[in-house]
Every structure is written in C-alpha cells, then in structure tokens.
Subunit: 124 residues, 6 copies
C-alpha cells in the first residue's frame, strides 16, 4: 500500500470512517496537497512507525497542542486519545501536568476543549 | 510530609541524589523561591498525583519542551525519562513524532539535546 | 486558611463574587482539579505573596498573555487590572508597548480584546 | 508626506480604500494609538522601504503569521498577497512549506483561513 | 530632537553611556537599519510616550521576554529594570509570577539570566 | 530516484557537498531517522515541488525561523538563501520586516545570526 493509503487507514482507525469521509468531502484543488501531506507524512510515515503505540502518540499530541495553542487539532487528538484507550482520569492528569510546564492559561484553554469532547461522547 | 519535602523526594527518585544536591548547592536568597515552587507545585503537587505514571509525565515533558524550545529543561527530562524506563528507541520515536506537530526545527534541536544525554549515559 | 480558600478569596477580590460563582457553577469531576490548582497555586500561593501589588501582577499578565496569544485569560486579566486601578490610558500604553516586543499582530489582537472589556465596563 | 500619511497610502494600495475606511470607522480614543503605530511604523516606515517588493513582504507575513498562529492578521495578509500578485498555486506552496517548519497544525489552520479568503474572492 | 536622537537618549538613560557606545561600536552597513529602528521606533517613539513610567516598561519586558524565551534582551531589560529602581525582591516576585502563566521552564530560564545580572551588579 | 535521494540532492544543491558530508558524518542509529525524515519529507517532498522557487523557500524559512526563535536552522537557511541568490540588502530588509511582526527581540537575535554568516562568507 502506498503511504497516502496507509495514512488514510491509520486516520480511519484513529478517528472513524465518518471523520475521514467528512474530511474528504472538503477536498478541493487548493487543499488537496495538505490533505495528502497529512496522510502521507503524518499518518502514513510517522504514525505508522512501530516503537511507540497510538495512545502514546495521541497523548504526546495533547501535550504539544496544548503548549502550542492549537485548539482545532487538540479537539481531534483528544478524541483520538479517547478512541485509543485514554480514560477521562488520564486525560485530566495529562492536562493538569501541562499547567506546570506550559502555564496555567494553556491548560485552562485545553480543559475547555476537552470538556467539549467529553460532553460530545457523553462522558461528562 | 509537607509538599516541598514530598517534591524533593520525587525529584530525588527522578534524577538522583547527586542532581538534588547540585541543585541545592546553587540555592541563594534570590532563587530559593523558585526552587521551593518547583518542589512544592511541580513535584510535590502535580508529579505526586496518581493517574499517570512518571514515565508518562517524563515523555509529555519531552514533547512539550521540544515544542516550546526549552533545551535546559529538555535535557533534564530526557534524562528523567531514561531513568523512568524510556528506551533509546522510544525516545527516538517520541522526538520524530514532534517533527510533524512542532516542526522539523524543533525536532532537530531536540535530537541534538538527546544525543548529549545518550552519550553522557553511554547509550550512544 | 488553607491555600485553596486563600486563593478563592484573592479571586473574589480581583474579579468579584459573581465571577467566582459563575466559575464554581461550571465545576465538575473533570475540571475540579484545574480549578483547585488555579486557586491553590496561582491565587493562593503566588498572588498571595507580598513584594509586588495586585495591579502590577495584573499588568504583567496583560503583557504575557498578549505575547502568548491567550485571549480568554487576557480578557479576565484586563478586567482584573481595571478592577485593580489600571486606567484606560495606562492600559493603552501597556498594549502599545507590547507591539514593539511581541509584534504588532499580538498587540492588535490584544487591543481588540481590551475594547470588548472597556465597552462592557462603559469606559469606551 | 509624513509617515502616518505614507503608511495610510501603502495600506490603501495593499488592501483597498474600503478596507482603510472600515478600519478608520472603528477608530476611538483608545485604539487611535495602535492604528497610528501601524500606519507610522509598519506601513509608513518598514513597508515603504525599497529593497524587497510588496508581494515578498506579504508572503513573509503569511509564513510568520502561520507560524505565530495569528489568524486575524493572516486573513488580511493572505488577501494582501493575492492583491500583490500571489497566485492560488503559490499560496498553496507557501502554506505547505510552513507545514514542515512550523508544524502540520499551524499549516492546517492557515489553509482554513486561506480557503475563506479564496472563497470570498471567488477563486475557489 | 528627531526620533532616533530621542531614542538614543532614552537608551543612554536606561542602560548607561558605556552600553550605548558598545552598541554603536558594532554598527555596520548591515545592522545600521535595525539599530536605527530600535532607537526610532522602540525607544524614540514608544518608550518616550508618557502614561506609564520606565520601571513599568522594564518589568513588562521582563515578563514578555521570559514568556517569549528571549534571553539576550531579557538580560538587558533586567539590567534596565534594576537601573530604573526595581529591587531584587521585586525582580524575584515578577519572575515567580511568570512561572504560573508562562510555565516553570520559562521562569527557571529567566531566574538563571537574572542571577547573572545580579552577580554582575554585586547584588547576589 | 526515491525521495531520500531526491532530498539529498536538493540539500547538496542548497548547502554544498561539504555540508552534506559533514551532516552524514554525524549519522548514528539514533538520529538516522530524523536525517532520513528531513531528506524524505522536507527536501525530497516539499522542497522538490514546483510552484515557488528555492530562493522563496529560503526566505520564508528566514521569516519563520526568526519568529519561532530557532537560531541553529536560521543559520543554515540564511546561508542557503545567500546560496540561492538572496543579496545582503534583501536579507536586511527581510529581517527588518520581521521586527514589526515577530517583535524587535526576534529580529535582533536574527540580525546577530545573519552577521555570523555574512562574516563567514566575507560579505561583511
């Protein structure tokens, strides 16, 4: 399987078929390149590597995206973490941990995003 | 045990007695407040919480400090991660993962710091 | 008084009882930990220290939150600064000063947030 | 012509008279200082310098504002870049390039902003 | 007095004649533009404005440069703050405050820079 | 040619054979993955795309790396920009432009890095 296809499969397993279809539905001649880059490089090359599991990759993203202030992708990766087995208690501890290292504002913003996802998944 | 003492104990277990002594040796009337804050809040309050283990806390820090560009603390937490059971292969995968999300420059800077620690620990 | 209670009292004095009640109303088993961390560490430990006054702490936050791009907390701390005696003219000078050091985009975003608060307080 | 007037002229040429009028309509005694700073320093001093052309200045801004996560100004400068001759293909390549250096989340956020502008200009 | 001259005078009062001479000695045809921009825009325009005093401007910079991770300029502005009347105790409180909002790593890096300056000024 | 080879060729053309050899000499079982990622993704996939030329890619990097505070890679890409036809005057204008958008500290740090490269290339 080529890397774009491998990446789409990882994304499908991480976020579900509906997510992948919704993203494909937004595809146009401008953004096709970044969708392909995400599938090829992000999911098809890096996520596909062995050595650390998907739950670990998801929680690394939660920490990074909280520190970097990227709520759109944080939303997706909190959802992906939960799909990969991260519990609500683990999520809370991860976000509280970021308060020390990335600062309280970063953590507070991330808690707000996490609560959206937890409500959507009827876990709160 | 009060929180500062609890924090010192966590730091001792994470980095070793020599690290703690070296840090204490730098204490003066100006920086005592931030050393106490670190022991109290960071190690004695947040690190001491159950729910996620120390290896997980260490790798979250590796990701955040790489994204935030803080090599001094990244150095300590890479060392702490290794002390907490993170293998060289896992470390490589964590840092490569940051290249996608925090950008290649952030990851390249982190690989350089990691190699210092691995050489110091005769793992490279 | 324990640190959480001390912190709640600082927050009450800074932002008003209504703000504290509104925040408490959002409390749940997921976010309780970060609300307690904020009250304990942020307000009950650091804000409670002598040495610099509350207006100074507020304006330091305005500068940092502008540089870091955290509009949600910037909104609160601009309001807190005004409650702590910061005038509209001082606020303007603080934000213009950030344009040099954090860049014009950061300052422009902060001016927009400040105008929301000033209008809410009928100062603009 | 003094620098504020020179800056207003650059902004008029970059974004159009309607943009300048809309911005002037928001002027009040609080934000006048930052509007004047933008016209004086940003457009009337730096943008007015020879040596690199306006299209180049616009694309440098696209890269910086993507990396810094400033969507409001990114919106304006993507529009300014298009006004200065940047094609849709060039814009795509610039944003894809940021994915490597500023990380995929930064680039994905920027692609979303760019699509808004391209739709507004009926180029997508 | 034109703005560059006004700015040089502010810089002279803030950091001393020796600092200004040392900086002038590094001037060449490449960096003259940024030295002039600093004198003109930063010191001659923004710092010269009334409304907030120089000590306040200095401490805002300490907070921002700590959050942004810019140790070179942090060094200068900590020195400038001390020259403008900031005491060692106030400096400590400012930096500890940043630990909450910008994260502990940012504050620890800043404490290290501050200790360099305090030792240089025989205040530690 | 596979993407890693294509990327090595781009890097060779951008920075010279000596740079590539020096980098290869540092290769080990830990960092091979990030060297391959750089060659594959950065140079072999993104830099290899048509649509914007190499000089443009280099100057976008100068702007981003200045804003992000990554001096190690900024050093390389300033050198690459000069190799790709960027003049000293253009480099000055690019860096001065960043002062407005990324803040004066970011620009001052970048001017210092640029002067190192210009001296190394006997252009200053």
């Amino acid at each position: 399987m080529d890397r774009i296809e491998a990446g789409r499969q990882v994304l499908r397993e991480l976020m579900g078929e509906a997510f992948l279809e919704a993203r494909d539905a937004t595809r146009n001649d401008f953004n096709a390149a970044v969708q392909d880059y995400a599938d090829d490089v992000c999911f098809g090359t890096v996520w596909s590597r062995p050595g650390i599991d998907r739950k670990t990759r998801s929680i690394l993203n939660i920490a990074m995206l909280t520190a970097l202030g990227r709520p759109n992708q944080l939303r997706s990766h909190i959802e992906g973490a939960i799909n990969n087995g991260c519990t609500k208690d683990e999520l809370r501890e991860i976000l509280l941990h970021t308060a020390v290292y990335a600062g309280l504002p970063a953590a507070v913003d991330a808690f707000r995003v996490a609560e959206e996802i937890l409500r959507k998944k009827e876990m709160l």
